[in-house]
């Protein structure tokens, strides 16, 4: 178990280093030097070269990479020349709101998908199962932005139940309390995730139902309800842990689109604004954070799985 842990953490560190190398490579190719942004678009080449030399942008690739890693390890994500602030400051203002949106959507998705998947597995091939499967496929195939637009049109414009825009408040605690504005964004992101989760949950629950211990529990005389709550739910949820780790990139991409549609001042909207300004430091810093979150999330999910499933721990 300890050796598995060490191996897993070692692999993750190697992957993180590889990611930083890939991101820096992209940065170097796409945006070799911010000289033109600082000096203006009509600066002559001599001036640009002098600026580059002064700030270390014409050093060899490896030297620049090591400098970049040094910066990262000190928590400095770079400088956003178009916003004229540190990237770290920009992120600090917004990360709490993005985290709230993503976390709530994930929580809602898990809370809905687990019972839904189990219901589908128990009532297999019934009308309910087929209806939920069709809805899941429709929602899964829909792009996030389309679902968001439909929800806005139906629930915010045609029938004014919710607000068509997300909460614009800067205080994340006010945002948390503002259900009138935040329901639709959270619902959008959650629905897309539920579609995928419920399919996996359904097949996992179907597999678990065929296990011998379910048969034994029923033979013992346990009520069906006890069989489900005590045996089925716990065992069918195990793949869900791995799945949560695997959906982190999709959640990041989904939150980018959702925040853009609902004008929610989070990291996704910052990414969209930086795209329009072509501010590559911000873009690549966010990509690096996203990639690191994915690796760490998968590591945590794997470790959680070894804790939750003794069969893996003892193998």
């Amino acid at each position: 178990m300890i050796s598995y842990l060490i191996r897993r953490i070692g692999t993750s560190i190697i992957i993180l280093i590889g990611i930083s190398f890939f991101i820096f490579f992209l940065l170097h190719i796409i945006y070799p030097s911010p000289a033109i942004d600082v000096l203006g678009s009509r600066a002559n080449t001599a001036l640009i070269d002098a600026w580059n030399k002064e700030h270390g942008f014409d050093d060899p690739f490896i030297v620049q990479y090591l400098h970049y890693m040094n910066q990262l390890l000190h928590g400095n994500l770079g400088y956003a020349y178009k916003f004229n602030q540190n990237v770290t400051t920009l992120f600090q203002e917004r990360w709490a709101r993005s985290a709230y949106l993503t976390f709530m959507s994930l929580l809602l998705a898990v809370l809905v998908a687990v019972p839904l998947g189990i219901f589908q597995a128990i009532r297999r091939n019934s009308v309910g199962d087929n209806v939920v499967t069709s809805l899941a496929f429709i929602t899964y195939a829909m792009p996030v932005f389309f679902l968001a637009l439909i929800l806005i049109q139906v629930f915010a414009l045609s029938f004014p139940v919710f607000n068509f825009e997300a909460s614009q408040d800067t205080n994340v605690f006010v945002v948390m309390g503002d259900w009138h504005s935040m329901t639709l964004p959270i619902l959008t992101l959650a629905l897309v995730t539920i579609a995928g989760f419920s399919r996996y949950m359904r097949s996992s629950a179907m597999d678990t139902l065929t296990q011998d211990y379910i048969k034994a529990a029923r033979a013992k005389g346990l009520t069906e309800r006890m069989v489900l709550t005590r045996h089925l739910v716990r065992n069918a949820c195990l793949p869900m842990i791995t799945l949560i780790g695997l959906t982190i990139p999709a959640l990041l991409a989904g939150s980018l689109i959702t925040e853009t549609v609902f004008n929610y001042q989070g990291l996704g909207l910052l990414f969209y604004n930086a795209l329009n300004n072509a501010d590559y430091n911000v873009l690549l810093a966010y990509t690096l954070i996203g990639a690191s979150l994915t690796v760490i999330g998968n590591l945590v999910a794997d470790l959680a799985l070894t804790v939750a499933d003794p069969r893996i721990r003892l193998a």
């Binding site: 692999t11 190697i14 992957i15 590889g18 990611i19 890939f22 991101i23 992209l26 796409i30 945006y31 195939a141 792009p143 996030v144 932005f145 389309f146 637009l149 049109q153 414009l157 045609s158 990139p249 990041l252 991409a253 980018l256 689109i257 853009t260 549609v261 990414f271 969209y272 795209l275 329009n276 072509a278 590559y280 873009l283 690549l284 966010y286 990509t287 996203g290 990639a291 690191s292 994915t294 690796v295 998968n298």
Partner: protein, 275 residues
Amino acid sequence: MTHVAPSLPPLDINRGPTAPEGGEIGPVQSGFKLAMREFAQNRLAVIGLGILAFFVLFCFVGPLIYHGDTINTSLENTLLPPGAGHPLGTDNVGLDVLGQLMKGGQASLEVGFFAAFIGIFIGTIFGAVAGLIGGFVDSGMMRVVDVFLSVPFLFVVLIVAVRYGASVLSLSLIIGGYTWLVPARLVRGEVLTLRTRDFVSAARAAGSSRGRLISRHLIPNAMSVIIVNVTFNVADAILAVATLGFLGFGLTTRMSTGATCSPTALLTCRRATGG
């Protein structure tokens, strides 16, 4: 008594392969024909193929039949509801929506299929080589796949689209550059299982090189996994193109399906309808 010459066998004898004792000669049992017959008997598969064929015809043959105006804007005809001359109405600059759907679908389908093809091609070879060689090389190759898989796909596509502009070729290349990751993993898994089978040992004993082993034996047997995966890849690529178009960074020289839903277009629509 005249000597009767031995008679020739009657002309209707079955000249095909003779069946063994108690057996029957049935229809063709292997290869492409069998696959086609199985496919035709599965109703869902035929319906799916029909839908796909409909969309391809709609996008590529449609514009030849239905001449919706997607080039000349006409500001007196903006935001018309569906009616005569415009079966699906017009958008906020007067271009016909049905014509736009057809034209946009062309680019989306092209990018989708091209990107999926690139992805499958690279991914299959990468995965097969990794699975066959095994050991340290295999671990290294899979770590490379892990690194690329961890970076969120949409972000890198957006960044490259902003920097290099989005054309059908560049989008296909960058989407294909991400699509190869999952087939590589899957094919490697399949090859690891297939490696231990007898036919591989037989091929090795017959002296086949690694390349021949991969191309002639391993990849054809891993086809089922590859085919399932390529269908998802095409869908993902088309969705990626639509998302890019929605955010405003999509194909600049041609229409695509997402661009008609872009935020600016929608805002104008909303204002116009008073909603």
